[in-house]
Amino acid sequence: MNEEMSYMLEKKPEKLFRDDGKRLSGRDLFELRPIKMKVGILENADGSAFIEWGKNKIIVAVYGPREIHPKHMAIPTQARLRCRYNMAAFSTSERKKPGPDRRSIELSKVIREALVPALLLEKFPKTVIDVFIEVLESEGGTRVASITAASLALADSGLPMKDLVTAVAAGKIDGKIVLDLDSAEDMYGEADLPIAIMPRRKEITLIQMDGKMTPQELRLALGKAIEACQQIYEMQKRALLERYKI
């Protein structure tokens, strides 16, 4: 823990790998950070979940299907899914000015697009389903952690779903493909590739990339990320079972 803290505070590290071939956090190439999930943690929300992914701490609430305001936003044939990704002011090293910025507007959109394929929105015409995501602490990879937790909160709300949505980021640091980048790796690495899938049919519902990767590297990274999603999917199912065990 302390070792990790000290490298986080440094400026740009010379290398992102230690001499023994492990990453600065001590992880192997395809090793994920520890992940903890808990379903049903809020009283008011129809569904909720909390995820701790490395030092990321994210809480998600689902409200709805409920009446939509303003009314002209209603879609006659299906429910509208709304997503709000919001970072707490204290969630980053430098205080984040409260309120939506361009990054969070984009993230809210791509997270919504990642969740929509799992839902049966046509079952609830003219209503709205709200997904509120509050990032309490961030350490790289908040969007994939948010998606993973949001799909748990949606399931917790009792909405019918085709599958859960599971997400993880792959990336490239010092020329090597790795999984689950932390903030330093994200900042100083060469590429970041967040993906989300519906694991049963391995359908990709989110893919973004920034940085530089050859198509071959991308293929490898995508394959590894999809593999890792299966592992996270099992954790999601366990978290749901934990909540609803008799």
């Binding site: 361009r102 507007i105 359908e203 198509p215 995508l222 999809i226």
Partner: protein, 269 residues
């Protein structure tokens, strides 16, 4: 279009796609006619009017002196903004940028930034204090689909043809003098948008197609063959479809890069 007409058109476009055909007669891997006019706005340091089929986008590049970001005192600043003005489509409304214009601007920005198209180190006037800020402003004028590609082609054309005045430090004061040089552009990132209808992939969807797409992804390539940005805009893809989309985009981006370089070569004189 809504209700029954929209449903009928959706069925029609889907049936066509199954037969590898499109509503405007194109092949699945065929781009619409692309026309780019550089230096469209004389007051802007760089500009380009892009016509992609019936889609029209005007992009302007303006330069200004300002402070660098704290964490990059030795680099100029790039700011990309997009406006979906109401004159461009009955769907667009006035007001602050919505998620679509934010996504558009951020994706165009990402391609330029991550490919290191602009050598930002060459935009420093006084390290830590004064640098050139490059503003890319995307003005969509007529929306007939595929705004991302049209905007990105406009942005890179405007950058390639932009002129930068010289800034000198004279007795602690910064003076801009009337000596112009091209912006330091080192790479030409080119996105290609791929749409999916049923199990068919097609490039450069027009608006009618966009309205019925099952999924859409944009992939930006730079000349060395690296992918520098990806954005799945909507829907879902299989792993195999992503690979297919990448190879479609790779081929097409090379051709479009050649076209843009040809256009900007002429505009440089």
């Amino acid at each position: 279009m809504s209700g029954i007409a929209a449903t009928l058109q959706k069925v029609y476009i889907r049936n066509l796609a199954e037969k590898n055909k499109r509503i405007d007669g194109r092949k699945l891997n065929q781009y619409r006619n692309l026309e780019i006019t550089p230096n469209f706005i004389s007051k802007a340091e760089g500009s380009a009017m892009v016509q992609l089929g019936k889609t029209k986008v005007l992009v302007g590049v303006k330069l200004d002196l300002g402070e660098p970001f704290k964490d990059t005192p030795d680099k100029g600043v790039l700011i990309t903004n997009a406006e979906l003005v109401p004159l461009a489509s009955p769907e667009f409304e006035p007001g602050p940028p919505d998620e679509n214009s934010v996504e558009l601007a951020r994706f165009v920005d990402r391609g330029i930034r991550e490919s290191e198209a602009i050598n930002l180190s060459k935009l420093v006037v006084k390290e830590g204090e004064t640098v050139w800020i490059v503003f890319i402003d995307i003005h969509v004028l007529d929306h007939d689909g595929n705004l991302i590609d049209a905007s990105a082609y406009g942005a890179i054309t405007a950058l390639l043809t932009a002129k930068m005045p010289k800034a000198v430090i004279n007795e602690e004061k910064i003076e801009v003098i009337d000596e112009w040089a091209p912006l330091p552009i080192e790479r030409v990132p080119i996105p290609v948008t791929v749409g999916k209808i049923g199990d068919k992939l097609l490039i450069d969807p027009n608006l009618e197609e966009e309205n019925v797409l099952d999924a859409k992804i944009c992939i930006t390539f730079e000349e060395e063959g690296n992918i520098c940005a990806i954005q799945k805009v909507m829907g879902l893809f299989t792993e195999r479809e992503i690979e297919e989309a990448i190879s479609l985009a790779e081929k097409k981006s090379k051709k479009i890069r050649e076209e843009i370089l040809e256009i900007t070569k002429g505009g440089d004189e």
